[in-house]
Symmetry: C2
Subunit: 346 residues, 2 copies
DNA sequence: CTGTTAGCGCTTTCAA
DNA sequence: TTGAAAGCGCTAACAG
């Protein structure tokens, strides 16, 4: 049977003091001076009874719930969502907060319902997360409240909102540099061009930034791409098809930059099928650090999406006392595995 | 600026009625009869003012929060966790509930902290989820409260708790039958034997059940396994190594059952490297329906973990009025792709 | 059919 | 240094 919950009044009784005193001791208020004796007695009583404050009751007075809403468009599809949530969860725990989660599935009605459910529960603030790095408009019902955009930025220039996203531009540069440093100059091809993703910030902020970083690095070294494959979706099948197209050209590619790991997975399949060995014959480098990257043979070098850190940062930005409109770019570390080698001399 | 929240008192004022009446109308109480006029006026007032009840205040009276705790050991690592959460989220939304999430990382101190944080917030019940299907002991602080075990069962026979897990036994049978039905009799090998997983229910309930289903199907058809590979972890690398060992035997395997998709991924790599074609030369079948399964070429036939359904069922079991101790097994549908073919006649 | 009143558990004036 | 009392927003007895 569940014993009735111990209340502050119980603790006060046991300590032979008033609720006021008990409350002050337990909240460690240092603006009033309590006698050491009172302090001791309250603490002892709370300990013995196993007192835990009722957050609902407290929040009724303070309108603070130590609860944060995490609203995202899609949680399931990828492992990345989990990483963001995990980071947020860790940070929340460290600050004695708790996460209320909702998923909108990109449906406005569901989103509205979810937001209301969260607001009804008096959350202290909201993390609004997107699975694809992109610009978005936050529902007006959220404006004026503490909010942090995660893996997204605000589409409204009038209304800058604090945001956290990966530094895809720097990652693009680093990825291209990794090939250049290994001596690649000729036969560098790109898999995953996609004008829609590159041009429409509401679809993706990653594609354009990655491409920009890559082209900047190549340009600085006077190197031109030897080929490009368009991919409508960044999925393995498209990477496979794209790579096959590039392999059917007159001169064989020597290095492949894939715009994400799933494309790279497809590219590996096409290369293997063509009898080519990754690294020995063709270097491959990519973005995301999907779990896949470490499973491929040889392991795929890739710029890692720092999703866990981003989730953590979102909570920290939200909790901190002074509001900012910081637009934070989180670095994407290049994970070096065996897929890059110096160009073969055949 | 955030306008002050509209309260029930505001609505009552506007409607020219008492809080009681307003409350009754808004909660659709049919035990008392309200005048249609009062009904109309309250509803109109609430609508105009955009009234939303304060859940904290309500729960102080009713000790119901319409909030469910979802506590799991690990959320991030796999996509599956996301699927369970998504299912739970969907069901919760449909029932106007909301999910409070915590992750224990298998650490008892963190777990205790998480549980307290949830109880402090007066959650109506708890879903206690495990990433690996296994037996576990729930912390005593949770006993006597509404709880559903997700992807797990209670290790304590004295204390049966409602639980939901996949029907791995039936899946094992179905997977083996898929090969048998395609005409395979000779050269069927198994990748992923693991005594620890098979024997210790606190490590895994899946391994033993899958194996049992497989051997039952084979025995019924008088077929014996032609080989087995032990794998300490069910990861691609181990699948690769295990498959290589089996390929080095005197007679070539004709069909491979992998105990999960990651092992199958490794097995594909080993087969390809050996110059064998999946399906044409060697059939492969597996368990989980990881995203990988559809990305492989040819697509991998596999018994799908119904994680989304399980998450959904957990919420429904928890919310329903009458407590049960149902031990629910959720079917694992066999997803048929191109990795199975009739044995080659070479 | 509707209103008055009390009280859920807590924090916070204000007074002693 | 401590306590009494009010009140956060809501629901539920109990009257009327």
């Amino acid at each position: 049977m569940i014993r009735k919950r111990v209340t502050l009044a119980d603790v006060a009784d046991r300590a032979g003091l008033s609720k006021t005193t008990a409350s002050m001791v337990l909240n460690g208020r240092n603006d009033v001076r309590l006698s050491p004796e009172a302090f001791r007695r309250v603490l002892a009583a709370a300990e013995e009874l196993g007192y835990r404050p009722n957050v609902a009751a407290r929040s009724l007075r303070t309108s603070k719930t130590a609860t944060i809403a995490f609203v995202s468009d899609i949680v399931a599809t990828t492992r990345f969502a989990g990483d963001m949530i995990r980071g947020a969860l860790d940070a929340a725990r460290e600050h004695d907060h708790v996460l209320l989660i909702a998923e909108t599935q990109g449906d406005e009605a569901i989103e509205q319902q979810a937001i209301e459910a969260m607001l009804d529960r008096q959350v202290d603030g909201m993390i609004y997360a997107s699975m694809a790095t992109r610009q978005l408009s936050v529902p007006t019902s959220l404006l004026g409240r503490p909010i942090v955009l995660l893996n997204a930025t605000s589409a409204d220039p009038e209304q800058p909102l604090p945001s956290i996203r990966p530094d895809d531009g720097a990652a693009g540069y680093a990825v291209a540099m990794a090939l250049l440093r290994s001596g690649h100059r000729e036969g560098i091809v790109l898999v995953g061009r996609n004008e829609l993703k590159e041009r429409d910030p509401r679809v993706s902020l990653a594609a354009g930034a990655r491409l920009e970083g890559i082209t900047r690095a190549l340009a600085e070294h006077g190197v031109a791409l030897a080929g490009e494959a368009f991919c409508e979706e960044w999925q393995p099948e498209e990477g496979y098809a794209g790579m096959r197209r590039l392999l059917s050209g007159q001169s064989r590619p020597r290095a492949v930059i894939c715009l994400n790991d799933r494309l790279a997975f497809g590219a590996y399949q096409a290369l293997t099928e063509a009898g080519l060995h990754v690294a020995d014959d063709v270097s491959v480098v990519s973005f995301d650090d999907d779990a896949l990257a470490s499973w491929l043979r040889p392991g795929l070098s890739t710029a890692a999406l720092p999703h866990e850190q981003m989730g953590r940062a979102a909570v920290e930005l939200l909790i901190q006392p002074d509001q900012t409109t910081e637009q934070r770019l989180t670095p994407m570390p290049l994970i070096t595995r065996a897929s890059i080698a110096a160009p073969s001399t055949d």
